[in-house]
């Protein structure tokens, strides 16, 4: 007997918001990436949960989306971290507060 769907959704929402918190509050660029990965993981959790609690049998669409999403997240992490390294090399900082060249 698995707990009901909304419990999973609440956990996923909490994970999402913690990720959001990390992405919004921390100064270090890597934290932002960590936060984004957490948000993605929360989304994956939702996909899987909705697949599991959807009417059965059905094609494992949620699982597929989660797999693809993990792959994309890996790509995103690779590029993001490469960016962090490149930015660090160039500006000698990974503090996003100091990276405000886009300031209007």
């Amino acid at each position: 007997m698995t707990p009901a769907l909304h419990l999973f959704l609440i956990v996923s929402a909490a994970l999402f918001c913690i990720g959001l918190l990390a992405a919004l509050s921390r100064r270090h660029a890597i934290f932002i990436l960590i936060g984004i990965e957490m948000m993605l993981a929360a989304a994956n959790l939702n996909f899987i949960a909705f697949w599991r609690f959807g009417p059965q049998p059905q094609p494992p669409t949620g699982v597929m989306v989660a797999i693809f999403s993990i792959a994309i997240a890996a790509a995103e992490a690779a590029v993001g971290l490469a960016l962090v390294i490149a930015v660090y090399r160039h500006y000698r900082t990974t503090n996003v507060d100091q990276l405000n060249r886009l300031k209007g």
Binding site: A4, L45, V63, I70, A82
Partner: protein, 160 residues
Amino acid sequence: MNSVAFILIAILTLAAALAAASLPKLIHAALSFAVTFVGVAAFFFLLGAEFVGLVQVFVYIGAVAVLIVFTILLTRRDVGKNRGFNWGGVAIAIAVFGGLIWAILKTQPLSIAAPPIEALTVKRIGEVLMTSYVWPLQCVGLVLTAALIGALILVMNEER
């Protein structure tokens, strides 16, 4: 038993996530991040998607966490500094959390129990992946290749 497992995993995951978001030392946060993803993988196991759980562990612990750790090493001079914390972000995150919880609890049809399912074998995933989802699979492969090359080019030495 599943409920017990659920509660344990939830506590583990969320605690690790909070730690990852708030620990002052970047390296601790990165390790907590890994634990968070183990927790999420455990959730996947609990939900019957073992393959995804394994992939999650494999990709996040084996690749992403190691990448993060390497990035931390390569930008080490910066790690000790910038302990700044933006409380506005906390407020926004809490507000979003409130909104999400409210929306979840408000929607009644969500509190349903899980229907019984046949086990999602790797074979079935493979079959679906190679039939209905073969194009997305190719696209993801392309995206990964592009990301790999892009990341390599990004971290190549800047020609000055």
